[in-house]
């Protein structure tokens, strides 16, 4: 598995590659747009670029 190309890594600049999913417990999950959404989760944000999803996850704009 080569670095930087994983399902949760940023895709090409500007491409809407990811979603933010949520479950009923309030847990959130980043998710690649090309993979079927797992049972029990629904799309809360996106499809959007990775950075936009990351920003949507952190209201205070702190990112790691």
């Amino acid at each position: 598995m080569s670095a930087g190309s994983g399902p949760f890594d940023p895709g090409p600049e500007g491409r809407a590659t990811h979603l933010v999913l949520a479950n009923s417990l309030g847990r959130l999950s980043l998710w690649p747009v090309w993979r079927e959404v797992p049972a029990g989760w629904s799309v809360r944000f996106g499809p959007a670029p990775h950075a936009a999803c990351a920003a949507a996850l952190e209201p205070d704009r702190q990112q790691d």
Binding site: M1, N23, Q63
Partner: protein, 1315 residues
Amino acid sequence: MTALLTDADGAGPEHRPDAPDAPAVELPLTAAQSGMWYAQSLDPPSPAQNTAECLEIDGPLDPELFAAALRRVTAEADALRVSVVDSPDGPRQRVLPSVALPLTTHDLRDASDAVRRAEEWMRADLAEPFDLTAGPLFRHALFRVGEERWLWYQRIHHLVMDGFGYSLLVRRTAQVYTALARGEAPGPRVFGTLADLVDEDAAYRSSEAFTADRTHWTEAFADRPEVPRLAGRGALPSRTFLRRTAHLGPETTEGVRELASRLRATWPDVLIAAQALYTSRATGHREVVLGLPMMGRMGSVSLRVPGMVMNVLPLRLDVSPDATFAELVRQVVLGIREVRRHQRFRYEDIRRDLRLLGENRGLVGPLVNVMPFDYAVDFAGAPARARNLSAGPVDDLTVNIYDRADGRGLRIDHDGNPALYADGELAAHQERFLNLVERLSGADPHVPTAAHGIATAAELELVLGTFNDTERALPPTTLIGPIESRAARTPEATALVYGDTSLTYEELNTRANRLARHLRTLGARPGAVVAVSVPRSVELVVSLLAVLKAGAAYLPLDPDYPEQRLAYMLRDAAPVCAVTDRAGRLPEDTGTPLVVLDGLDVSGYLWVNPSRPLTPAHPAYVIYTSGSTGRPKGVVVSHGAIDNRLRWMQSAYGLTSDDRVLQKTPSSFDVSVWEFFWPLRQGAVLVVAEPGGHRDPAYLARLIREQGVTTCHFVPSMLQVFLVEEEAKACGGLRRVFCSGEALPRETADAFGRELPGAELHNLYGPTEAAVDVTSHACAAEAAGPVPIGRPVWNTRLYVLDAALQPCPPGIPGELYLAGRQLAEGYLNRPGLTASRFVADPFGRPEERMYRTGDLAHWTAQGEAVYLGRTDDQVKLRGQRIELGEIETALTARDGVDAACALVREDRPGEQRLVGYITGGADPVAVRASLARELPEHLVPAAVVALEAFPLSPNGKLDRRALPAPVFSGGAGSRRPSNAREEALTRLFAQVLGADRVGPDDTFFDLGGTSLLAVRLVARVREEFGAELTIGSLFESPTPATLAARLGSSGPASEDALDVVLRLRGGDGRPPLFAIHPAGGIAWCYAGLSARLGPEQPVYGIQARGLVGDEALPRTLQEEASDYVRHIRAIQEHGPYRLLGWSVGGVLAHTVAVLLQEAGEQVELLALLDAFPAEQWRERPAPEEGDALTAVLRMAGFERTHERNREDVLGTLRRAGSPLAGLSDRALSKIVDIVPNHARMMREHHHRDYEGDLLFFTAAAPRAEDWLTREAWRAHVTGSIDNHDLDCTHPQLMQDRHLDDIAAVLAARLKELDA
């Protein structure tokens, strides 16, 4: 074998219609042939280059006519009449005008197993190598296996024939035979000559097309991509290959053809795309490079010549899970179109141009060999079907796909190099490939390929279900509850041992309860966080329990971490309070209320368990780990998660009250969680190691033996070091040892089995994010190969997923994801990071999450996971998790650093070191030093290297492989070793560090020293010097000079070490301690004391004048002391002063102290070591030279016995290896003068009064001079005498054992003065 029908021999000229009686023609080899010649010459007896085919002919056949047809074709095809000779100009092929026809014919009509016997024969023949120089390089056999059924076998060396060549030969043979059978003329020769082929090759190689092709390929592969292979590695081709044959069912074949036409492609394009998808997923590489065997025949000439022309060319494809299969097929179509245009440029030449040859790197992964040659031939009406038996050497894996026009659909042969693939693996690859093709052919090609995995349905059931069958119903308990129940059941049992202290369960519980109640008053409750920064001790255990009892989660803060790091964690986690052992431990400006245990009285609190509304969902602890963007992140683990982990551990290993568990892991690492709490839940004894003890294998071995430890943990690299420790063998009481934190090498597991045969070794695995460990594997004695991380623990599932988040079958590497009860809640205050690491689980129950570890793993067929490495930049160094990004961020933040990169290097096997690289003007030494002030020790690079610029690969990325190894070389501009001991130590340092040169003042850790190398160095020092030395002493005395000083009662032996001022330990933190020499005038004896006072306390020895040079000896002690006062004030201009002296040195120290006070300075410490005032000696006779020799011996720690003169004394010193023996004769003679001079001066001296207290150490063993009494000092001291008796003689006072005691008292006093 039955009767031979014909034994065809040489074809007569009458059979060769156009055979000229020409001499042999000599031709050079084509580029295509040269590589094969070279490969064959490397291994002449290898049959790997055999190619072979078998044609089944159904119908009547005349063997005589068949032989005649073969003779004719042989005469027409130059390539078959070739042998290859080596000449001074290189290998040349000699085309003979005629060769004997090597044909055997076998009549097997009567045999019941005719076909099998024929195939056996073929197999045996295929294993025979050709002799290139002798020729002929082909062979035929004709088997009659039925009345009207024949097998025609032909084997040809690949150097002279390729697959297309076969088709030319077969068609011509059929044509000639048919003509002969009908009594017709076969028609003229249709083949071109071999010379034509060679000419065409030469013409191409000097053409513009060749140059253009070369440019195309070097540009297309300028970045020299890594080539993914299904076996994960490469190997030389073997002499044989494995083959699995299968057919795509007619329905699937039809589906593939339909899909191809819908996508405006051919069926080979679809199968190549499928193989690319399979390879990408099976290797975890988004980009794959397949090898495509190409006909290579572009001109009309070569299309008519049977010979070796074919070429293998790389097809580079980007296989992304978000792209559709239709897009992938389109990529293949366009890619092949391009490859075809440049197909004459040789594979070997591309490799050479890309400089892959020298590195023995491949250009392509699996080959897909599509052979759509037309084999619709018949022999005078008897139809024939061809079957390939060998397509030549197999480097890696070749998928041969045949579409013989025989109506049977696509045949697929998987050929594998047996050096890389076992039979079963090859079969699995084939089965999955066929399965994938089947699914693709029936699926919508316009959805992302992520919808398709490579595992078969049976494999999916195995890896998702069977291997993860871990469900287990458990009571809803917490981490702390079971400990409290245990304390109630066995209150009198021993719970904890630390040094001489031992606590029962009741005592421990009571202390923790009282502290817990205190913490509650500060806001500790379920859901809150309480920081704990206490060195390993009883108090640490009490504090952790107290936090949990209060219901809060504990946040361990390593007291050794730099202040900045601690402050960050306090601000980030915002604990309600922080427990520390003493004031000053934690930064006070973070707003966190501190609970200082030192002096805290909690006796007023109730001793019973506090009640609290705690549930398994509440957090139990928060542990920080390295963060990739520079900020460490706090992992929040719930009670339910860790409770599951400990319940599993108890069921797996059954701890009892007989067990004693070692606690040595720092509390900031999560391994410590089970060390602390598992034994306390089970009624076992917790044996707590001293702070720092976890680094010292000798100490650990001793502790394990003395304390009867049965259970402990080692990081594998530390286990390795421990096992070579002499005392490890004596740790027979160990029942089980757990490893985790990094990959456990098989060699270490084997060594464990040898050294500790009575103990079990368990390999555990897990990130902090999943409650310590999630898998386990019990190491077995006879096992081989990598040690698996094992099977999942209770209520835990492992998923090995490919780039499309689809499960990988056993044996296929993928990223490891974890799911189940042990997952952490997430990262404290980091919702974004949490949501990108803890993601939706597509395989579990609805709404579940899985944690993405970033670790690579694969399943074994038995359901164990094997760790393979990382997907990202995170590294493990000696079990500690390091995000290289965090170090890079820290490096880049320094002034003068433009860019930075960090990596772990292993320049010498087994020695991993963290190295940082920087560009910009910053001084790398200063950068490293400033990092050390900010980052925990394990995150500080062993070296920082400054570069002009970072090396880049052709595509402009940082080329990590080209980064230079750091040169760990000290000694630049430093002094030379000043004695034999320093010399020896600089040598040992250099050896252990692998450094060119080490100076006596170079610091071990600045030269790339790691804690593991430290262990090795200490072992070497013990060996060479026979000295007892601990790891701790190296941390305190990290240079050869300081270590030399520490090693004995003395250190340097060169002249400069005999100066008046001898710096034993420098530094400017605290006021220095001045230690004045005893009678011999040398102060080296204080080195051991200096080392024991720690790195913070500067110590200067004061030595007598006259040891060097021809200075006159002082006449009075007063004069001598005044001289010393000048030297002391040159170092420390004003008081308060700290003075110490042993023997005569004590008398001098008192005198110096008085002089300083008289000069208006303050003296805050006067410590006398078995020194007695002048008047006690006055009436006693002064020593002569004989007594001086006694004094010299005493300086070295010996009592005088047989020594009569200077020579004898020197002999004794040399035999004992005393550093004093290294003194020059002149210096030694001086000592013999200095000793009586001091005796004289002392007797003449009159003490004045010292204003203050005296710290006194008495050598309390009975002595000859029984009239000596410290009470005599009362006349010269205004304050009190604080005496400490030591059970030793006067000379023994400076020996290690007693120095420990003296240093302890001194250190305590110095600490009071500092405060």
